[in-house]
């Protein structure tokens, strides 16, 4: 069965700092990859996705993620965070024919 690991459960950083959230998955075949964000009191929103093509994908709000197939990773990055980026971030992986599997989430606190 596929699994998704998000290494950091909690991240605290200051505004303007750079953010990188790790995501690794275990599945050897073709995958679709997603990052979702849940802001306080809101439901999930899609940040970005990777299906195929350029492994560096850009999403909304200045986020990007890089798919490294050899490392089974899909790390999320943002060069300069804002206080409004405080949220919980979920990596999700869908292998062919399987259901979406979520990582455990990483809660990010950006200090003003």
């Amino acid at each position: 069965a596929q699994s998704v690991s998000q290494h950091n459960h909690h991240v605290i950083l200051s505004e303007a700092a750079s953010l990188e959230l790790g995501c690794n998955y275990s599945y050897g075949g073709t995958v679709n990859l997603f990052w979702y964000v849940q802001y306080p009191g809101q439901h999930l929103q899609l940040l970005l996705k990777y299906f195929s093509g350029d492994p560096l994908v850009k999403g909304i709000k200045g986020f990007e993620a890089e798919f490294i197939k050899s490392k089974f990773s899909f790390n999320l990055r943002k060069p300069s965070v804002q206080w409004s980026d405080t949220a919980e971030y979920f990596c999700a992986v869908e292998a062919a024919g399987n259901k979406l599997t979520f990582g455990g989430g990483t809660r990010v606190l950006v200090k003003p």
Partner: protein
């Protein structure tokens, strides 16, 4: 212990039937959600309940009705199932924390197939 559990994991049923998917969370969260994974693979919010009260009701056919008997449960009932209802449905729960803002957990999903 499973934080958010959905039952059943798989459901195959005929068109026109009525079915329910159950969701329970043992985290003490106040808010629960139902999402549908659409044909493009994205999650779309369907409903959100906070303390048993409906707070989000997206454009979803009336055949879909959420029911929250208590804040630990949010069930999804679907009447007169149609082929287009075939999808994976995810339940989730969350709470707003003091420090980090939000904490959410997802169920494993229910794959509904209407034949």
């Amino acid at each position: 212990d499973t934080a958010v559990s959905q039952t059943p994991k798989y459901l195959v049923t005929q068109m026109g039937n009525d079915k329910s998917i159950k969701c329970e969370q043992n985290l003490g969260h106040d808010t629960m959600y139902w999402y549908k994974q659409d044909s493009k693979k994205f999650l779309k919010i369907m409903f959100s309940y906070n303390n048993k009260e409906l707070i989000i009701n997206e454009t979803v056919p009336n055949r879909f009705s959420p029911k929250s008997p208590d804040k630990a449960h949010l069930n999804l009932h679907i009447n007169s199932l149609e082929l287009g209802d075939s999808a994976v449905y995810f339940c989730a729960s969350s709470r707003v924390t003091d420090r980090f803002g939000t904490e959410a957990f997802f169920g494993q999903g229910t794959r509904l197939t209407v034949v």
